[in-house]
């Protein structure tokens, strides 16, 4: 049978089955089980209406339970058992084995880098793009072009960027744009400006930004401001985590500055970008930033437009310049949206698999947790350690999960 025809039939059967369930189960409830006639008509209608919500929700609850809730517990159980021993309980042995593997720690430290760099740059670029495109007449077109990578699969993006990073032997024409640009640098003052001084300023700026973040998170604790006295214990934990992460980033930035200055760059030699440890991870992150910036831009742009005009007008009258308006008036007002964008991208990052799988498959020290897990589950067939690493991903997602549920509860109440 032709695959298209086969597909069509399966579509009709699948969707028809779904619609049929809802139609016939409702019919059954109203006509057979609790018919709305005879002496018990009133009571029957009430009963039917008590059952109907569950009838409406049953397929959804069933699928959610089976495909998302149950696996959390099943995976947790698998992570405590050994498949080769017939599924015997082995306690934390899998976790201990995993903690002893250098590949795991490589994946962890890479993942931490991804977690900071990708959301930070996506949100920053998105904010920049949103702010800039809102001010010009052809901003709509510019927006949809920046947003476009959202529609491209991670695998497609991997191919697109592999061409950008492609390398030809020295002497041949380069077909990857990055190498072509790289070979245009010859070590003169122009190269020093663009490859030493500009990156230096960028990294320094990033470090300063992190310092600012620490200051902002710790201010309520250090300065004895009123109204912050009764914060929850988990707020302190959160502050601690943010501070540590930011300190770590500053440490990395300082290291990067030192190595940037001590390094003698191999001018004139084409580079195989994806095999240079550390930097290759950055090159992979660029792909995700490229995809996610559009998402951040769309949401932040809507938030920026939602800012009351009066606040901006007041600032203009007070003589604020455009930068002050942006950083002191607009950004604080959309802070909650920035947090939402940041956490959403964080979740995408935690699940990132396709890009690494397609571009380097974790070689040359680019391993990340999701790919490490896939390796363990389907290549090494080690379900115990694979499940343990999946639980690590779950653990990293949990704070966001709790936060989201907390907010949703607050709203519905």
């Amino acid at each position: 049978m032709h695959p298209a025809l086969q597909g069509l039939i399966t579509i009709i059967v699948g969707v028809g089955g779904c619609v049929g369930y809802f139609y016939f189960s409702n019919q059954f409830l109203d006509r057979v089980l609790f018919p709305a006639r005879g002496e018990n008509a009133g009571r029957n209608i009430n009963r039917a209406n008590q059952i109907r919500p569950w009838l409406f929700m049953f397929p959804a609850l069933f699928a959610l339970g089976l495909y998302l809730a149950y696996p959390v517990f099943a995976t947790f159980w698998l992570s405590l058992t050994d498949r080769d021993a017939g599924g015997a309980f082995v306690g934390l042995a899998n976790y201990i084995q995993m903690a002893g593997e250098p590949k795991f720690w490589e994946a962890m430290s890479n993942n931490m880098l991804w977690l900071v760099i990708v959301p930070a740059f996506s949100t920053a670029f998105g904010l920049l793009a949103a702010q800039l495109t809102d001010r010009i007449s052809w901003g709509g077109i510019a927006k949809s072009l920046i947003f476009m990578p959202m529609a491209i699969s991670f695998v497609g993006a991997a191919v697109i960027w592999k061409l950008v990073y492609d390398t030809r032997p020295a002497g041949q024409d380069q077909i990857g744009i990055l190498n072509a640009v790289w070979l245009a640098f010859d070590g003169g003052s122009f190269s020093v400006l663009f490859l030493k001084i500009v990156p230096l300023l960028l990294i320094a700026g990033f470090a300063v930004l992190m310092g600012l973040a620490i200051y902002q998170t710790l201010r309520p604790v250090l300065g004895r401001e009123k109204g912050h006295g009764k914060s929850h214990w988990w707020a302190h934990v959160l502050r601690g985590v943010i501070t540590i992460a930011a300190l770590w980033m500053i440490w990395l930035s300082l290291g990067a500055i030192v190595s940037l200055f001590s390094a003698t760059l191999p001018y004139g030699e084409p580079q195989t970008w994806l095999t240079i440890p550390f930097w290759n991870s950055i090159f992979l992150m660029v792909v995700l930033v490229w995809i996610q910036t559009g998402f951040a831009m769309v949401i932040l742009s809507a938030a920026l437009r939602g800012i009351p005009e009066e606040t901006i007008e007041a600032a203009v009258i007070d003589g604020a310049n455009p930068f002050q308006i942006f950083f002191k008036i607009k950004v604080p007002q959309i802070m909650s949206t920035i947090v939402v964008v940041w956490t959403t991208i964080t979740i995408v990052v935690l699940k990132v698999f396709d890009i690494v799988f397609a571009m380097t498959n974790g070689q040359w020290e680019t391993q990340v947790l999701a790919n490490y897990m896939y390796d363990k589950l389907f290549r090494a067939n080690d379900w115990g350690v694979g499940s343990a690493s999946a639980m690590v991903i779950m653990l990293l997602v949990t704070p966001i999960l709790v936060w989201n549920v907390y907010n949703a509860r607050k709203e519905t109440r």
Partner: protein, 379 residues
């Protein structure tokens, strides 16, 4: 925005920055797109950005071939070096040591009375007093300017060549077979559940809503092994049914969340009136709620479509078995990256075949996508 900023010189900076930003974001995709219309030789020898302009470069050696004729007591082979027109030769040569030895139209003595001349447009004439027989004919090195040149041959090969076992045609249909039910089924299921969560009263409702919000962020990585095991145990194994169910499960939290948020905002009067008129919940849902919820349904449909079309992991785990009969496009491309890493013409074309459909959907329905994004992430 506000009037004062319009006049400031900053506006020009803004325009230029946006142009730069858009160019930067577009550049990688355009590169792959242009490459998909170039031949393997072209891609391997020059950057795609060079292909947009007339370029002068040294072409690989071409060995002269053709049937000999007898003209005026000489044996002559004549023809043109290039199939395509519009090529202009500036220098040519017959050895790799001196590829630029001669000018166009210069007559060169190759020894044994053989004489060769190559014209500017690539026409050559090789003559000798004796027959060439089976001897090897000379090679010609050329330095020529060529205008931009593109071909659809890659697309024909990737999509329509029956002898191409790595072609995308089958994978395209497989992807479609995965995508369409995996988009429609969760919508149907989620719409009913969302209606119940929005407009029916029953104990535990807010708890269920919170649970859905929680499940929004549960990584699907956790589901791989337990569900594969389950699928194998109940006999589904790896196949379309399994992948549809999986996509349905993974897409449901977002679907319910989006649709419920939208349905809650529908006017209460309409629903109350319909109830008073004796409509059942099923009728209200089908005749009133569903048509009114079209924007939300469209938003989610686009999300789910893009996500299932672009998915690799779920297909790898739940669909593609060892025979590879049910391979999807993303998997096919990853495979090509492994086996044909250097064949950019095939890679680029295959990637574009898979990217084209989401891009069309994206540009056609962007409005709904944006609306869904805003409803899905901003509370």
């Amino acid at each position: 925005m506000h009037a004062t900023s319009k006049k400031s010189p900053l506006v020009w900076v803004v325009h230029i920055s946006v142009v730069a930003l858009v160019a930067l974001w577009l550049f990688p995709t355009v590169g792959l797109f242009v490459s998909s219309f170039r031949t393997a030789d072209q891609i391997a020898n020059s950057g795609w950005w060079a292909s947009l302009f007339t370029q002068e470069r040294q072409a690989p050696a071409i060995r002269i071939e053709g049937a000999e004729e007898q003209v005026d007591g000489e044996f002559v082979i004549a023809g043109n070096l290039f199939e395509a027109g519009n090529v202009t030769i500036s220098r040519w040569g017959t050895s790799s040591r001196e590829p630029e030895a001669y000018e166009p139209d210069q007559v060169v003595d190759l020894g044994d009375g053989e004489r060769l001349t190559v014209a500017e447009n690539g026409a050559f004439r090789l003559s000798a007093p004796q027959s060439f027989g089976n001897s090897r004919l000379p090679r010609v090195f050329t330095t020529a300017t060529r205008p931009p040149e593109f071909t659809l041959e890659n697309y024909r090969f990737v999509l329509f060549d029956p002898n191409n076992r790595e072609g995308m045609a089958k994978a395209f249909f497989n992807t479609l077979t995965v995508t369409i039910p995996a988009t429609i089924i969760p919508i149907v299921i989620a719409a009913f559940a969302a209606y119940a969560l929005a407009w029916m009263r029953f104990p535990g409702r807010s708890l269920l809503i919170a649970a859905v919000v929680g499940l929004l962020v549960v990584p699907l990585q956790l589901a791989l092994i337990p569900l594969l095991k389950l699928h194998n145990d109940i006999g589904i194994g790896k196949g379309y049914l399994g992948v549809w169910l999986a996509h349905t499960g993974f897409g449901l939290p977002l679907a319910i969340y989006l649709l419920r948020n939208y349905m809650v905002g529908l006017p209460r009067d309409i629903i109350e009136n319909a109830r008073v008129d004796g409509a059942t919940d099923f009728q209200i849902f089908v005749k009133i709620i569903l048509p009114l919820s079209f924007p939300a349904l469209a938003s989610f449909a686009i999300f789910q479509f893009l996500w299932t079309w672009n998915d690799l992991l779920v297909a790898l785990v739940f669909l593609i078995d060892s025979t590879g009969e049910t391979t999807v496009m993303t998997k096919q491309i990853v495979e090509l990256l492994g086996t044909r890493g250097g064949n950019w013409e095939i890679l680029a074309t295959s990637a574009f075949v898979s990217i084209a459909v989401p891009l069309v959907v994206f540009f056609a329905m962007q409005k709904y996508l944006v609306r869904g994004l805003l409803a899905g992430s901003v509370k």
